[in-house]
Symmetry: C2
Amino acid sequence: MVEAGRATLFTDNRYTVQAWAEVHGAEVEITGKSSLVAAGARLASLRGRVRAGFAPEQVTVQQSTVVSQAAGKRVRWTPVAGAVEGLRGVKDAGEIAMIREAAILAGRVWVSVLKLVKPGVTEIELAAEIEYGMRMGGATGPAFDTIVASGPRAALPHGRASAKPLEKNELVVFDLGAILRGYCSDITRTVYLGRAPRKIKGWYAAVLEAQEAARAAVKSGVTAGEVDAAARRVLERRRLGKRFTHSTGHGLGIEVHEAPRLARGDQSRLAAGNVITIEPGVYIEGTGGIRIEDDVWVQDGGAETLSQARRELLEL
Amino acid sequence: MVEAGRATLFTDNRYTVQAWAEVHGAEVEITGKSSLVAAGARLASLRGRVRAGFAPEQVTVQQSTVVSQAAGKRVRWTPVAGAVEGLRGVKDAGEIAMIREAAILAGRVWVSVLKLVKPGVTEIELAAEIEYGMRMGGATGPAFDTIVASGPRAALPHGRASAKPLEKNELVVFDLGAILRGYCSDITRTVYLGRAPRKIKGWYAAVLEAQEAARAAVKSGVTAGEVDAAARRVLERRRLGKRFTHSTGHGLGIEVHEAPRLARGDQSRLAAGNVITIEPGVYIEGTGGIRIEDDVWVQDGGAETLSQARRELLEL
């Protein structure tokens, strides 16, 4: 944005055709060299006082140096963290429809690979089947590297799929999402290979109860921290509070992680039209982990869960 | 690196298990909150003059602000662009073996999907088959979003796979790579659906000649710019110089884009043990594009091409 009401995308000639085809509502300037240098030069050419905002969470120190040197000393730079992301927080009906479709696709694909979940198959093979299924269902790709984490690896909240084969009597966490026409989904389901011992059934029930409590707490006007607390309270009551090592969820849209963050004590208020994940989990080092995640549309007075796959513990 | 000879990885408790399992040669400090704050605090606790380097091409302005505030005014910060990447430029024999395996896998998978390349199949379906094949071949995933670009879309050097179905009498560009045990490959092949017109055969021959000329120019001691010039000279002689809108290649390793960059006029010298891509291309807006890319191991007095799939024009 170099003048009030006018937007320009600066890009280089690798993207000429794509920019003309895909950019709406902004001018396109194709530059022979660095688009940062071109953007800086444009700012330098403006008359009067020039103040430029930038996204400090996106721009590297190097990029910042290049663009501000090109703009010269007359341009004053102001970091405006979250400004662009904030514009995307409230989704319109068309965006909700696309996230819903992406969420349903992810759930359907997860259900379709359950028949392959047995001892001997590797985590990578299952991840490959999931990503293949999402693409065949119309996705342009996965929204992130699909997580399939079994046995002790399920204790890694961010463990990607590995070459480890599944074994009998293990928990298996699936965390997957699709990008469908530009919008992301993000769901998690956990299954047990074999007959689950009573202890694991107890953990699973606690996570599910926490997840339902958090989903029930969602409506416009509540703080992100209140939704997080609803999940955390259930797990603390079951003496699992310390096993829940991450936040309850995050916004979702054209990026898989957007504002708001549903972290402990977060005071930002949910608004009708936000789409957020609700994903409490417990992680027991050496044994495994359990996480259940759905995508939820914040509304006035309540919420609607967009993802649909069943949540009860499956013993396969 | 907070003291000479000692390295510490600061990370948070989401990564506890993974850090202990995967980090070698460094201490691990798990922090309850931001790892940047913890790293800054450690620097602040050191005695004497403290100078800290950081990677300005990796660190965002926001991260830089957080860590430097935590470290306080006594710590002096110096951007050291490319320092970490530079350490990785020369690969040892084990690393070469892994890149070779990843390159051969990518080529094999590309050959295996050729039987599916016919009018009506969509770009996304082919990309899904390719990524599925790479994973079933042992890859932890694709090294980047697989490009399948057909017809006019082939004129987009960075066009991802779309829902467009392939049509008769089109060029189709495949740009794919696998991550195998942490190392990336990156190859490109272009085919024609139908009998290629003479003009397209001419363009293809020019790109192949440019690619071979650039590969023949590779050896330790030459500059990156000389290799780029070898490809560019061939295309300029064929009046296609302006159609070659990007650089000739880039380094390859644990990241798919590493130093060195094989750009016009680049004065950095290739060293034995570098692994680089050689990927000239021509792009004709409205018609399509042709790119041929291989992974090349720089040696004293020459080079070895690690990727193996055939390079002659296939008319399918």
